[in-house]
Subunit: 186 residues, 2 copies
Amino acid sequence: MTAQNRLNGIDIDGLVATVQAIQADPNLARFRFRSHTDWVSGGNVKTRIQGFYGAGHEDTSRAAPFTLEGDEPSVLLGTDKGPNAVEVVLHALASCLAVGFIYNAAARGIQVDALEFDIEGDLDLQGFLGLSEKARPGYEGIRVRYRVKADASQEKLLELCDYVQKTSPVLDILRNPVPVKVSLEV
Amino acid sequence: MTAQNRLNGIDIDGLVATVQAIQADPNLARFRFRSHTDWVSGGNVKTRIQGFYGAGHEDTSRAAPFTLEGDEPSVLLGTDKGPNAVEVVLHALASCLAVGFIYNAAARGIQVDALEFDIEGDLDLQGFLGLSEKARPGYEGIRVRYRVKADASQEKLLELCDYVQKTSPVLDILRNPVPVKVSLEV
């Protein structure tokens, strides 16, 4: 691979080949992601993420799992060994918007020099605690402010920002309902 | 604090006091969580999570930030330095359901000995790639299977599972729309 084929850290030839392969066989686009989580104590959990299905086969490229730790801060009666669940959602959103922006910038020939996100979300704990019918358990609203330095006009970057919002998996997951089936084995 | 006041790693007296304080002053239930994310290269980002507002004041109890790394696996043209954004969402969901189950079990006097979650989500990459109008960018569906060992009847545990689903912040965020405002500074 030559230096010319990379932009923003992305293998442009690989990106084009991926798009062409999926256009030829849309089944390659079907992915199934997985996680396994063990409760430790109190609000503390450990999640392992490793294998997934995608591009027509079970992906075994990860030699070891990623481990994510979740907990609650002391004011929420936890031991603060990791960010809590709703804080992690903010990271997922930024991570997703970054990938969307960087990959699509690369596809359009836009070089990005810097990209950063500040996100905040408002939550009324009365919902979780079952103290109010009016308060929903989750975020009432999330605000994303992001800053970019790139070699493109403001118009092109705002257009890219719009496109990324239309195609971001996590933004879609937040803005629109996802069917979630929960089953408990006792 | 005596041993009798803890169950499942939760300070029961603290939980009761928190609920009473919020019933007396619902403004204490207002939380604002935050994240800051820097893009590194390609699909790789680093997120710092530290301070938040809640219980009537800015919480500065965390001496250092948590750092979360996001990336894409090689088949998605990343360098696999961390789980991707939609995998992280599965962790957030398990983390949230675990907290809901454990805290509410503690409040009901149910001792939990073990709790684990397997979650999977199906995603059609054609949405992210803009190759199909029919494919949404995010998860088409998520399935949670969880197993619990606890000193309560199956009926009580299934009832608890239902209650947790009604009050879980991340489950609410997934199942119902959240307003997300995105603004880009060029």
